[in-house]
């Protein structure tokens, strides 16, 4: 796709998006920046293993309408059925648009939660980093963003309970949503945020999310994301975080659904003592493609990072892990660990992993490990010798592989929810494998 035609394609939706003339100019500028490069191709080293052709050629509506009453009630019913607590503090978005009826923003002291549009729809793009260099899709988000979430915690405040962000795709086909999430933590503030991404019905479409995080010294942010799209959806996301001294960030990322999923993390450890810990599970089968792409910049000394991702790749699935740790010059006393462990469960499955280290300081302890293989034969035999049949034993071992990461989820209900969904998806993947 050339810049010209993609520009035209997005421009059609541009005038239906919210904002003043000034905002429109910002959108146009971002779109122009995007059009200069267009969708990245596999010739770009950052996209070596992920082909966006199906996305760039899809015919999508880039300016979704606000949800109708009928759709809202269907979403409400689905969330109830799925066991979400309507009284919990939460923001619900349908097709990228904020749904006030289903949301709970009764905030505690020192905590503000709001939809991006409610903070001033007119200057939505102005409030965001208009373009994030080197991330064309984030630039496109800057052009097309219509809504999102803004969460701020004041100095010394602590959110009393986890806040949920629920993104539901409403069932209309070929929608493209560009939400933006902005999180701002004051000095020593604490927050736990859980992001749920799910589909009302399996339909094609695209979610292109940008999350911007700014953490003041001593703040602690725990983020979870359970991405449980149907298997027709494209999902791309960039999470960018800047951590000041002694700030701590933990991200637990669970990608179960989606046709083509790409998660970019851009973490900047800017203050001494900052720590980031990223971990996750991703499943891919039945033509699914999931790519986790991390750049971890150790800019300040005495910073620490961990990356631990596990992929379970079934029939015709394709999993990718690309983690890059960069230790900047004079950033001494660094501890960075990366691990990428992967199970390949089917013959035409593929896994590509690229754990990279780029180190310009000497007082560092950096390591990475990567493994790819199928279920351990000896463990399998051991379980069978204890009387389990082979399928049972396989399921158990596959789940155990995921469970090592699941155990790190500190919210028991969430952990259980993810575990259930992992089990369901694994069973699905297997079913697909049995009937090629």
């Amino acid at each position: 796709m050339t810049g010209e035609s993609s520009n035209g394609r997005f421009a059609a939706g541009l005038d239906r998006l919210p904002g003043s003339a000034e905002t429109a100019a910002l959108r146009a500028a971002a779109l122009e920046a995007f059009s200069a490069t267009g969708f990245p191709t596999r010739r770009n080293e950052q996209w070596r293993y992920t082909d966006l052709a199906p996305l760039s050629s899809a015919d999508l509506d880039f300016a979704p309408q606000p949800p109708a009453e009928e759709l809202i009630s269907r979403v409400a019913a689905m969330l109830d059925e799925a066991g979400f607590d309507p009284a919990a503090p939460r923001l619900v978005f349908i097709d990228g648009g904020y749904c006030e009826t289903l949301s709970q923003t009764g905030a505690a002291a020192g905590l503000s939660i709001a939809s991006l549009a409610s903070c001033g729809a007119a200057d939505v793009p102005a409030r965001t980093h208009a373009a994030l260099d080197g991330h064309p899709l984030a630039t496109l988000n800057a052009a097309l963003v219509s809504d999102g979430a803004v969460i701020a915690v004041d100095d010394g405040a602590e959110a009393p309970e986890p806040i949920e962000l629920i993104f539901v795709a409403g069932g209309q086909s070929d929608l493209a949503a560009h939400p933006r999430i902005m999180i701002d933590l004051g000095r020593d503030a604490e927050l736990t945020l859980v992001q749920h991404v799910l589909d009302l019905e399996a339909a094609s479409g695209w979610f292109n999310v940008v999350t911007e995080i700014v953490q003041a010294p001593g703040s602690t942010l725990t983020l979870y994301r359970l991405q449980d799209h149907g298997k027709l959806r494209f999902h791309t996301a960039l999470l960018r975080a800047e951590l000041a001294e002694d700030a701590k960030l933990a991200c637990g990322w669970f990608d179960l659904g989606g046709q083509l999923v790409r998660n970019d993390f851009d973490i900047r450890l800017e203050g001494s003592g900052a720590e980031a810990d990223l971990y996750g599970i991703f499943l891919a089968s039945s033509g699914q493609h999931t790519d986790n792409h991390i750049r971890m910049d150790h800019i300040a000394p005495r910073t620490k990072s961990g990356e631990a991702f596990r992929g379970i790749i079934g029939e015709s699935g394709h999993g990718v892990f690309n983690g890059k740790v960069v230790v900047h010059r004079d950033a001494q006393h660094i501890d960075a660990r990366q691990s990428s462990d992967n199970l390949l469960l089917a013959d035409n499955a593929e896994i590509d992993t690229k754990p990279e280290l780029e180190i310009y300081a000497d007082d560092v302890k950096c390591s990475h490990g990567a493994t790819i293989g199928e279920i351990d034969e000896e463990q399998l035999f051991y379980l069978r010798a204890r009387g389990l049949d082979e399928d049972e034993a396989r399921d158990l071992l596959t789940f155990a592989f995921a469970n090592a990461v699941l155990e790190r989820v500190e919210l028991p209900e969430l952990r259980e929810r993810i575990a259930d969904r992992v089990a369901v998806h694994l069973a699905d993947g297997e079913a697909a494998g049995e009937h090629p």
């Binding site: 280290l357 490990g369 990567a370």
Partner: protein, 482 residues
Amino acid sequence: MATQQKEITDLVKRKYEHGFVTDIEQEFVPPGLDEDVIRLISQKKGEPEFLTEWRLKAYRHWLTMTEPEWAHVRYEPIDYQSISYYAAPKSQENAPKSLDEVDPKLLETYDKLGIPLHERARLAGVAVDAVFDSVSVATTFKEKLAEAGVIFCSFSDAVKSHPELVRKYLGTVVPYRDNFFAALNSATFSDGSFVYVPKGVRCPMELSTYFRINAANTGQFERTLIVADEGSHVSYLEGCTAPMRDENQLHAAVVELVALEGAEIKYSTVQNWYPGDENGVGGIYNFVTKRGECRGANSKISWTQVETGSAITWKYPSCVLRGENSVGEFYSVAVANNYQQADTGTKMLHIGANTRSTIISKGISAGHGQNAYRGLVRVLPTARDARNYTQCDSLLLGDKCGAHTFPYIESRQRSARVEHEATTSKISEDQLFYCRQRGLSEEDAVNMIVNGFCREVFKELPMEFAVEAQNLMNVTLEGAVG
């Protein structure tokens, strides 16, 4: 740790020992490259037409290519028209029939390099093929090898005496289209070594080649082809040095290995091209394509390299594991000191079932050196039960250098098992203190620890090379540590 820093500095400042220029008459082709130059090179070497044509095809393809930029190295653009693509010692006109006829000055050169040709040959039973700039000067022990049926000669000789073998295998592992530097080499290569080990033969001695770039403004584009026929075995060593010069010199070699069923090739390199001075002036650009193909079942190719020289190293000795049960190995020590840059590693392509590969890489960075490991392990769907194990460790000596690891791991076969581990750290203060408490100087302690760090690789080298590699390492890092 100020004293430590100082000693590092001292170590780094150790001078290059092999920097001298041999004063003998040389015959040059004037700088520049076009089809006429290629025809001239081919004609001077009396090559058959197929080879001339092959060179020209490579040249034409090269013209369509651009220099690769993905490596983690930085250098000023190379002017390929300012390089002379052919330099031969004049006395080549009457080529020596034996060592006795070799220009004594040349022999002296080898002596200075610590390769007493006669003695090394006699005492160690090593056959040496020495390539001086681009032309093979002397080959020893031909007779003994001939008895076993082993062909070991300069590439030019092979083209004349065994054109059918050259034609059959040349470019089958590294096609001229492979990459920019391989295409350039295919068009312009002037000489190199050729080895053929017939079926079932175990080569009776280690084969060895020494390369040396002498003349200014010349590139060295040697080409090595080793074919191990079914069930044969050969161990080949190469060493490299170059004189000190202020300008950069290009070395773009191609090495092709072919192992047929049940054959085994062990290829060891101790690379000590001139690295430039402590300010990064001068030094060799070592842009080399080395690849071996395990073409037959149960074959094995093992690369061992100790890379201490060159201003820039761009080199990925690789194995194409086509035959079932074939084995590929890569053992590497790479040092980047002063302003040296190294981007080196390997590719293991698992095609056949039950193929196995091992990668052990040890990178050492000192001064302002930048050292990158770049490796690819690719398991294709056909490679049932393939196995790879990779261990790559980096050691940092000083806070101005860099150590980088870029592994690409791709698997499309469920029964394959791939494991990769990497660590990066500086030399351990505790280890240094322990050794010093036992009375060792800091420099000796560092050498000992660094050599220990490299031991897994050194032990893969033939004995005499292992000692040389160890000494080279100490020399290279002298002043680098503390």
